[in-house]
């Protein structure tokens, strides 16, 4: 029998929690990282092709869009790594208490931004 009854609202009405936010961001950054690896490939290719070609990459990386990509890239990877560490602990059976997940989730979100800023500043000092 075909059931034509309506489906009750779900994502439209459900509140976001820190843990669900980190979870969906983990997915999105996972896909992003995959795509952003192409950027790394271009970087390596430009290195292989020599100094002149590397200049092109440098122009790109110093442009507004280039900087946006690189900072986004750093953030996306840091987020993924921190969140993955959280998953490791879960896989070992630790950190399931509501309070703990809230704290670790907040650490992942805040930590990803703080580490991105630190890393970007460090890059400026090192290079």
């Amino acid at each position: 029998m075909k059931n034509d009854n309506p489906i009750s609202p779900h994502i439209q009405v459900y509140n976001w929690h820190i843990s669900s936010l980190v979870s969906i961001s983990h997915r999105i950054t996972g896909v992003l990282n995959y795509a952003l690896l192409i950027l790394v490939c271009f970087w390596v290719i430009s290195l292989l092709l020599g100094e002149k070609n590397y200049e092109y990459f440098k122009i790109f990386s110093n442009s507004f869009i280039g900087k946006f990509f690189i900072i986004g890239f750093i953030w996306s990877y840091i987020f993924q790594i921190l969140s993955e560490i959280r998953h490791w602990f879960w896989d070992m059976g630790y950190g399931f208490e509501l309070k703990t997940t809230k704290i670790t989730g907040t650490i992942v979100i805040l930590g990803s931004f703080i580490l991105t800023i630190i890393l970007y500043i460090a890059k400026g000092i090192l290079i």
Binding site: N3, I7, S8, P9, I11, V13, Y14, W90
Partner: protein, 257 residues
């Protein structure tokens, strides 16, 4: 399959407005999801002005007040009113819970009440849980033991009994399963937190002789591993249980056995 937006027949429309007739100064607006199977119309949100001076403390009290004094056509499940039976599970203020234990003072602003998310609606706040019950049936939720003990008790050590704490309290209200995005998108195949917690309750029971078989049955890409530790289940559980942890324990047992 992931479908973010609601299908055409499920889009929610603006409904009727029930103005307060008591002249009370302490009024709260309550928005309730309504759907009448006899009309063929889309679901709607009806708004009720409720006199809070003469209303007890829980969300269920508001619903009872509306049904008794304002609009008797509203349909919802309820029975014990003490958080034991699990009938009045619904989505209040964007979070699943039991209407009989949820205090309306905790909710700021207008009170929004929906049925449990992503279920086929039967009427108003009543969702169809038959898929979940079928899944519950599939894990064989009873003790499998071949010992013939006659009239004697089937004994268990204190430690083994303690393993069931945090599991046996589950009342199958479905707050957790219907809060889970994985269950929304794959509810036909993924067992969901409520059923998996129950599965674990029998897997971990020292008196049960079917552990291996139970684990084998649940070890499935879709049945079990659609859990991505989103933690909505644990956030929603009105009994303070931790389905996410129970699911992780099953995964761990499978990984280490």
């Amino acid at each position: 399959m992931v479908q973010i937006s609601l299908p055409k027949n499920s889009k929610v429309q603006k409904g009727k407005y029930f103005k307060d007739k008591t002249g009370s100064k302490n009024i709260r607006k309550v928005n309730i999801y309504r759907w009448d199977p006899s009309t063929g119309e889309n679901p709607r949100i009806d708004t009720y002005e409720v006199d809070m001076d003469n209303c007890p403390s829980k969300v269920l009290d508001i619903l009872n007040k509306i049904k008794n004094e304002i609009d008797p056509t509203i349909a919802y499940r309820r029975s014990c009113a003490h958080g034991v039976c699990g009938s009045c599970a619904m989505n209040m203020d964007g979070k699943n819970g039991l209407a009989c234990t949820k205090s309306h003072a905790e909710i700021k602003g207008e009170i929004n009440i929906y049925p449990l998310p992503h279920l086929k609606v039967l009427k108003d706040l009543i969702g169809d849980l038959s898929t979940l019950y079928k899944q519950y049936d599939s894990i064989k939720p009873w003790l499998k033991n071949s010992k013939n003990l006659g009239d004697a008790e089937n004994l268990q050590s204190k430690e083994d009994r303690a393993k069931l704490d945090g599991l046996y309290e589950c009342i199958m209200c479905a707050c957790c399963s219907t809060s889970c995005p994985s269950y929304w998108w794959n509810g036909d195949k993924y067992l969901g937190p409520a059923v998996l917690l129950q599965a674990y309750r029998w897997i971990i029971d020292s008196r049960d002789e079917d552990r291996k078989e139970r684990l084998k049955k649940v070890a499935d890409e879709l049945k079990l591993y659609r859990c991505h530790t989103i933690m909505n289940c644990t956030n929603a559980c009105p009994k303070g249980l931790n389905p996410a942890k129970a699911i992780a324990s099953i995964k761990k047992m499978l990984a280490t056995s």
